[in-house]
Symmetry: C2
Subunit: 136 residues, 2 copies
């Protein structure tokens, strides 16, 4: 069994915010939507059901905690949660805040247009609000 | 608290295959991809985190059971799991079998093109393989 190593593309497209119990919580560098990913720090996982049962339960808790915090701080209409992995096979779960009129609403965020990187100030503001909400 | 009633659009777009412990397991009437949805039979739920904790655990188990069965019977490269709800707010979880070269690969299935309804024979064949795999 190999050790966990973050997929290169996930590392390039997102920044680590905090380590939760199971997952790295990372911010996608795309200011079009508040878009987080959770990456379980387990090697060789691709499908949700590849995770051992206890990890599945931890993941459920972490995803829901992050989704609730993201909705609170953004006032989003809807949180989109997805585990796709058609391009990057390392298991990762998207948690995205959506609202009427955002880019590609009501369609999905995946595969739509081109990422628009954050400026430092916007990223810092979002990050600090999120970490505060998660620790509340 | 109101009683669970299936959203009209979900009812129109999909057919009930079986009731699991928590969810209705339904087949989307779109033969472009083997595409299932799970609808927790709970009233007034929109986000995953709206579910009581025990229901969240049941949902995790049911989604993973269905995803594994779907992958087995289709030989898919990747299962896509998503809870979006931008259009239909009643909580429902998509479980879709994907492979290289399918419609919109490697992009998402949501919002892409127009549904292509099954013929009776194809639907019956898929349904019976799936139910067999789920009861194995």
């Amino acid at each position: 069994m190999s050790a966990f190593q973050l997929d290169e593309r996930l590392g390039r497209d997102s920044d680590l915010l905090v380590r939760l119990g199971l997952c790295q919580l990372r911010l996608m560098n795309d200011g079009r939507w508040p878009w987080l990913i959770l990456v379980p720090e387990r090697a060789d996982m691709s499908e949700l059901y590849d995770l051992p049962m206890l990890d599945q339960q931890a993941l459920t808790i972490e995803v829901n905690m992050v989704a609730a915090a993201l909705r609170t701080i953004t006032g989003a209409e809807k949180i989109n949660v997805g585990a796709l992995g058609n391009i990057v096979r390392q298991l990762h779960i998207h948690v995205v805040a959506r609202k009427t009129g955002d880019a590609n609403w009501p369609g999905p965020v995946w595969g739509f247009g081109t990422a628009e990187p954050y400026d430092d100030q916007s990223r810092a503001a979002l990050t600090s609000k999120l970490l505060e909400a998660l620790s509340a």
